[in-house]
Amino acid sequence: MAKVISIKDMPTELKIRLVKELGYGSDGKFVLDKQGKEVLDRYTSEPVEIENMAILPGSTIILDDNPLSILLYLDEYGDE
């Protein structure tokens, strides 16, 4: 079962580095895709902010870390 950690205290620059390692980008506020467009949360269609993102398994999904998106993610992918 995958572990769950918080990156609340991770410095912003490191969060930006993290999304870049995963093939995304950032303008400092939002997570951007390869075309430089804002990544939208797959459930709420809200742009995902670096300071509130969740990175979850399932071809590495980046979501906005809010209860509704997490709830629907768990619905779709389970909690393994």
Binding site: S6, I55, L68
Partner: protein
């Protein structure tokens, strides 16, 4: 902060919410674990834990047993989440707002029905009357499909007579198996008066009262 070299060594029961000292080594280890699919990275570990644990709720299992509709099951889980986040106004309100955006006002009302703990009481009434599981399933579907027509929330500012007329007209024209009238604590006395007036205008219905310190709910159900 004194941490071991492995940032994830102190992960307890799969969750780790303490601050991590973000050295290069730790950062690389997190990236590797994400690529391996062994790590979920969030900002709010506590909410993730609550939502994960919620999936084991007996109330949810019971609901899922009778209701196969995906959207209704999602709304049920949202209702449980609203209940669990009740003490965190900011998170709870954000969840309410997003629920309305995704499922409309009716979706929020169904989730609030669950949040308020009305489902087990409703289930009690249905189970006492139903003869087969199929009947229970059909009753649930009808109830939730017509939710806005069979549930009325009484506000402090409502006019008792007007509300009672509205509800009795709905009952007499649709003859639902169950009709629910409820209010929060501030309008409890008004809710009782509305129920009393409604019962004087209709026949063939029994009423059950379910009371909590914060809510008063009348379940009007068709007599056998």
């Amino acid at each position: 902060m004194g941490m071991s070299n492995d940032p994830l060594a102190s992960v307890s029961k799969g969750f780790f919410s303490a601050a991590i000292e973000w050295t290069e080594e730790k950062f690389r280890s997190v990236v590797a674990e994400i690529f391996d699919g062994d790590l979920k990275v969030v900002h709010d570990v506590e909410t993730y834990r609550i939502l994960k644990e919620q999936r084991k709720s007996p109330e949810l299992n019971l609901f899922s047993y009778y209701v196969y509709d995906v959207t209704l099951c999602q709304l049920f889980r949202i209702g449980l989440a609203l209940r669990q986040l009740e003490c965190n106004v900011r998170k709870r309100d954000a969840l309410r707002t997003r629920t309305v955006k995704l499922y409309g006002n009716i979706g929020l009302h169904i989730a609030e029905f669950i949040q308020n703990g009305f489902f087990p009481k409703y289930l009690d009434i249905i189970m006492a009357k139903a003869k087969t599981e199929t009947e229970i399933k059909r009753e649930f579907l009808e109830f939730f499909e017509n939710f806005e027509k069979v549930v009325t929330f009484i506000k402090e500012t409502d006019n008792v007579e007007k509300k009672a007329n509205e509800i009795s007209t709905r009952i007499l024209s649709n003859l639902p198996n169950t009709y629910i009238i409820f209010s929060s604590v501030v309008a409890m006395s008004k809710c009782g008066k509305v129920k009393h007036l409604v019962m004087s205008k209709i026949s063939g219905y029994n009423v059950d009262l379910y009371k909590t310190p914060a809510k008063e709910v009348y379940f009007l159900h068709k007599a056998e």
